[in-house]
């Protein structure tokens, strides 16, 4: 976890995939390895005479993600991070370049021949409303990878539900009976079903209420630790990535512009774009100089108990406003509650610097 990865270096290392016996050994076969990956999309032709427009979604990305690493991918929408992630998970194929998962190439394989990949690599999606089939019961949803891969189901669904903090009677209900946060828990349970080695999370908390983000992030944190997973975490939200990841790559217009250990990148961003991104994140610390997370939590509880707030999110907003007023900072840029709530480098009582 506290692994001080060096900023990315393109290793000219040997590419001998251990076919057949991949295992999770500590050797340096990367969990995910990308070599010069490009992806172009051809826009539909709009005119008979001119050539169709080509969108270069991912440009020449070379990247290694070590087993057990928590890797973050940051970029604004349209930066190509989702495309990259789809290619890593075999949902899309690169126009050129090579992708190896645990040493095995996947870029040329048809979906049919990627069966083995499905046991190694699973996804958690962004939208909790559309990532679960509304017509399926939770039991069927979670056991889908098991059924697809012919793994006996046994009591696995119940175990997984408990693991992600849901009661076992959830199994017989339908997705619309759950909140966004609970749905993401179900998504995580489904991803864990085939005992994968690699978990890819595509903006798993972006669609959630601020008040439940922390819970889902903590869950992902826990399962990555508990199952010793390699995590690839995609987000446009820098503070969330900081909370979760050891190493971060910043993408812009299909290219990785900067890559490095999380703290280093946050403290000392090299690329102008990274600096710009970081500058655009409003700093809660300004408003809360000298205050503690516990204090904010206390305010939240007070607001919740009082008349002002009807739910957690509203209470949080009130608490933030209060803190801001005390610190003499007027409204404007919204404070990022995650800066407090998600920062796992600080204890609850720790001072926010």
């Amino acid at each position: 976890m506290s692994d001080t990865g060096t900023p990315h270096d393109a290793p000219g290392g040997s590419e001998t995939p251990p076919h057949g016996a991949p295992g999770r050994s500590e050797d340096e076969t990367p969990a995910i390895s990308l070599r010069g990956v490009n992806r172009e999309f051809r826009r539909p032709r709009t005119s008979l005479t001119s050539a169709p427009a080509v969108v270069h979604a991912v440009r020449d990305v070379t990247l290694d993600i070590r087993p057990g690493e928590r890797f973050g991918l940051v970029g604004e929408s349209g930066s190509g991070k989702s495309t990259l992630l789809r290619m890593m998970s075999g949902l899309d194929r690169p126009t050129s370049g090579e992708i190896h998962i645990e040493g095995q190439p996947i870029q040329d394989s048809s979906a049919r021949r990627l069966g083995w990949l499905r046991r190694r690599l699973q996804l958690v999606f962004q939208d909790p409303m559309s990532s679960l089939d509304p017509r399926m019961r939770i039991r069927e949803i979670i056991s889908e990878p098991l059924v697809a891969q012919g793994i006996p189901r046994g009591s696995k669904v119940d175990d997984l539900l408990e693991r992600v903090g849901l009661s076992t009677d959830a199994a017989l209900r339908f997705p619309h009976q759950f909140s966004g946060g609970q749905r993401q828990r179900i998504s995580v349970a489904r991803a864990l079903a085939p005992d994968p080695h690699i978990l890819i999370a595509d903006e798993p908390v972006s669609a959630l209420d601020v008040s439940v983000r922390a819970q889902v992030l903590n869950l992902i944190d826990e399962v990555v630790d508990g199952f010793e997973l390699t995590l690839v975490f995609v987000s446009h939200d820098l503070s969330v990535v900081r909370h979760v990841c050891d190493r971060v790559a910043v993408m812009r217009a299909g290219e990785i512009v900067e890559i490095g250990p999380t703290e280093q990148l946050y403290q000392d961003p090299q690329h102008p774009y990274t600096q710009q991104l970081l500058a655009s994140v409003p700093r809660l610390s300004e408003a809360l100089a000298g205050r503690t997370a516990a204090e904010l939590a206390e305010r939240t509880r007070a607001a919740l108990a009082g008349e002002g707030a009807t739910d957690e999110a509203a209470a949080l907003r009130l608490a933030e406003e209060g803190a801001r007023a005390d610190a003499g900072i007027d409204g404007g840029a919204g404070l990022r509650a995650e800066d407090v709530r998600h920062d796992r480098h600080e204890d609850e009582g720790g001072t926010i610097a």
Binding site: L91, A111, S130, D133, M136, P145, A148, Q149, P194
Partner: protein
């Protein structure tokens, strides 16, 4: 789902559909008279003996209406059955095929869509001899594009959802995805389309029978009754009005039912 509300079109349409079904069922156990020439005066107006009167061959009109309901349902089931059984897989296939092939299917679909259903039915009748079944298979074939289109658009929405991506990551192939995710999520559209197409098929049968190409003489059909009433329209208008009203109500019923069902099944309207 929890917030669903029954709406007026659904209830009224449902009642009319049930009425047609009830008439067809009743005709199996009871009709006022036999369907044949009776030794009674012709062209009677509705009266105590013959509730809806008699036609110009002195057959009881109510008997014909009840028996005709069978024909009406039969044509609907055949036409919609043919259209759905062929159209739904075509729609799903077109949505799930990559690039060119799906487009190719839909262009073929467009060509078929350009054919008027009645014209196709008349062609079929000319080629294979008349009869209700032949005519309705033709109507069914002409209705395939309607199903294929609506299913394709629904299926396209489904296959772009994250749960289908999740299913692919889980290891399911296209067939399993079509069966487990696409079909269950477009079946509502199919049911709605079916009830609307049912109404169209009823109308088509009536029109074909009126033209003398559908249900043959000696077989009760509402369209046929219209045809036979035409020469006596000036002195016995009820012989046209009664089957006309039956057709209108059945078509209205299935249309309202389809509209109501669409609203009922639409999750976006849930809880309104």
């Amino acid at each position: 789902m929890s917030g669903r509300r029954l709406n007026a079109p659904l209830l009224i349409g449902g009642a009319l559909v049930l009425l047609v079904v009830a008439m067809a069922l009743v005709s199996y156990v009871w009709t006022p008279y036999e369907f044949k020439f009776l030794p009674v005066p012709k062209e009677q107006t509705p009266n105590a003996e013959h509730w809806l009167g008699t036609d110009r061959s002195a057959r009881d009109v109510l008997t014909q209406i009840l028996l005709g309901a069978r024909t009406t349902l039969f044509v609907g089931v055949v036409a919609v059955g043919v259209a759905a059984v062929i159209g739904v897989p075509i729609g799903i296939l077109a949505a799930m095929s990559p690039g060119g092939f799906g487009q190719f299917i839909m262009r073929g679909n467009d060509i078929l869509l350009a054919f008027p259903a009645l014209l196709l039915a008349i062609m079929f009748s000319a080629l294979y001899g008349g009869g209700t079944l032949i005519a309705m298979i033709a109507i069914g074939i002409a209705t395939i594009p309607a199903f294929a289109r609506i299913v394709r658009s629904g299926a396209l929405q489904v296959i772009n959802t994250e749960y289908v991506a999740a299913s692919r990551v889980a290891g399911h192939g296209p067939l399993a995805i079509a069966r487990k995710h696409v079909l269950p999520n477009v079946i509502g559209l199919v049911i709605v389309q079916a009830s609307v197409s049912f109404a169209i098929a009823i109308l088509a049968e009536a029109a074909l029978s009126y033209l003398g190409l559908g249900t043959p003489t000696g077989q009760p059909s509402w369209g046929r009754m219209l045809l036979e009433s035409q020469n006596v329209l000036h002195r016995s208008p009820h012989l046209a009005i009664i089957p006309g009203a039956a057709i209108a109500l059945a078509v209205l019923g299935f249309n309202l039912f389809g509209d109501g069902l669409r609203d009922y099944l639409d999750p976006k309207l849930e809880g309104r």
